[in-house]
Amino acid sequence: MAFISSGYNPEKPMENRITDIGPQHFTEFLQPVIKKNFGKWLYHEILEPGILKHVAESGDAVYTVRCGTARLMTVSHIREICDIADEWCDGYLRFTTRNNIEFMLEDEGKAKDLKKFLNSQKFPAGSLKFPVGGTGAGVTNIVHTQGWVHCHTPATDASGTVKATMDAVFDQFTDMKLPAPVRISMACCLNMCGAVHCSDIAILGIHRKPPIIDHKYLDNLCEIPLAVAACPTGAVRPSKVEVDGETYKTVAIKEERCMFCGNCYTMCPSLPLADKEGDGIALMVGGKVSNRMSKPAFSKVVVPFIPNNPPRWPEMTDVITRILNAYSEGANKYERLGDWATRIGWERFFEVCDLEFTEHLIDDFRDPAYYTWRQTTQFKW
């Protein structure tokens, strides 16, 4: 390999340097029909799963074909997406917040043809490349984090759990049979860089063992004050330890205070906490961000722990499917998962979903806990 210079001169980093330019203005990327009718849209309808029609005051209509993707994608795949956009949409496309792709066309017939085409594209091993769906009252694509693909504190994998889940609920992606939209999100540790705390269903990786302390190396690799300061519960303190007759500067951990967040490991690589038996998944349900009818709501933990069982996490997908089925049968039209559970009562939720309620599901963390306990005699048998 020969190093190919871009023109950057390492001797003079400031020479010809361009900084602080941000992204390009979005109007550079709008296709003509979108640009022309910007701010002048009248209404929309979902013609069939995965196809939206937007009508503007001018009478123009744009047909959007939405398809799911794995958000972890390669340049080969992106180029294939570009080929499709070049052929069908004059070289324009967009991504949604939830990792779907939207192709926009001005002809309804062509949009339907494109849907057929997209649904026929497969990887050699059989999975679909561009399944069309993700609209209306159904499950749309999962937003997620890096997991074992690229992160230092995950308690599970992200791409794998997402693939397993989407396979299990695939019919809900391509149909619109549920009472309301169901947003599933995935974060691989409780720092939640994917912020899954307001999702209808949240898949969350959790650790259950405190960090192991690499006493002999800690002081060489880490700055002890930073490791101490990183702990949100104040469980880490400076300490000295004797190993093989030598005294090492290190830290001590009050293990009963550990909330298994991994923040100390972020600051100090000598405090790893990943563990095959300790790590797994918690499931949370009933959150939402929309203001429609009810207020935005947080997700609640309904399964405290499911062991990691790669590659397909069957125990996890089984619970998710059970929750979705119970919701689908029990909820009213327009009712989000959390609103349904609140209406029937959470005690009933555990019953109809056939889930065990255990002490780990009663909040015991600081002030907010009290507001989740029941201060009334109103409950259901």
Partner: protein, 439 residues
Amino acid sequence: MAKHKTPLLDQLESGPWPSFVSDIKQEAESRAKNEKGLDYQIPADCPEDLLGVLELSFSDGETHWKHGGIVGVFGYGGGVIGRYCDQPEQFPGVAHFHTIRVAQPAGKFYTTKFLRDICDLWELRGSGLTNMHGATGDIVLLGTQTPQLEEIFFELTHNLNNDLGGSGSNLRTPAACMGKSRCEYACYDSQELCYNLTQEYQDELHRPAFPYKFKFKFDACPNGCVAAIARSDLSFLGTWRDNIRVDQEAVAAYVGGEIAPNAGAHAGRDWGKFDIVKEVVDLCPSKAISYEDGKLAINDKECVRCMHCINTMPRALRIGEDTGCSILCGAKAPILDGPQMGSLLVPFIEVNKDDDYQAIKDVVEGVWDWWMEEGKNRERIGETMKRLGFAALAKAAGVPIDARQVQEPRHNPYIFWKAEEVEGGWERSIDDFRKRHQR
């Protein structure tokens, strides 16, 4: 022939949902063939090694990544996350495998030209693996080595006219819904406001000086497609102050079954004939709607703009015309004290491009100055608010106190009155007191 055996990952190639494993394998194959004769600037087989290390995690249930500190481009404190594999001998292609965040255009509309340019750059100088997109909204380029960072930045800025995104204790890359581009619910131009603030605050985005991360998200209506209210330190949610526009003919068409309710979102199941009373009137959270003699009436003074009636009958009902946005502050994920939703700071503010959004910038800068002064290290503004009180935030932001800012008044009477609020102040003479009361 695959470099590593991946029997567990191979099981993720079946099933209908797009398989990231199949995709990475196709990239590995493409790099092995190298039909374009590229001089790959990082190991050509890094996708194979990525699959290898991932397979190892699938079998031993533990991650094999370390993160690390001093990588980045010159002068920037964010945009690059250092990553190292903890089995470098086994997987040399991914031994050093840093992430680059690239600022995405507002609303994530693209031309294929731009995406192809990104692909060309990333195929040559990186792994060819990406996330479209990261959770905050950036284009995430997954895996390159340190010597390539400046080269990538140089080509990105010079040839693609695009900058890196944020990471660390910075303003993170702001994100917007598609807004007016293709949505009739947009109460303001979320993309333009997002772009404008992104440009205005480039220094805050690239050079960290905050106690912790800070996110802006822009949702053009209360439906909240980018989840601003849950995920951003300052969320800008579109709203309006006047009346919902009603087209009675279209209402009749919904009632008559000529138009499917909720834009057809429930078409996959037979929910029976549309019942406007049951599905709209009765579900209005503030009971502001009535339907009599074939006419829909909305008592707009009682409307809380939840969007349900509009979502259900988009051809009959439209948002008002006196539009702007609400600003909410302090949303964050649970670490540490529990999750927080944004709290309503500014009930309504005009989104005025003509004065360069000055009113909004005044609020933003007031909030930042206060947080930079009062916030502890690694404390999100939502936590600073909780510690010091909502009123302190409102004061710092220069926002008037308003009953709309609370769900209900306080439950305790522990009001920390200040001397200047009390008639006569706090200075009192014990001698005067003793004239009225014996010891």
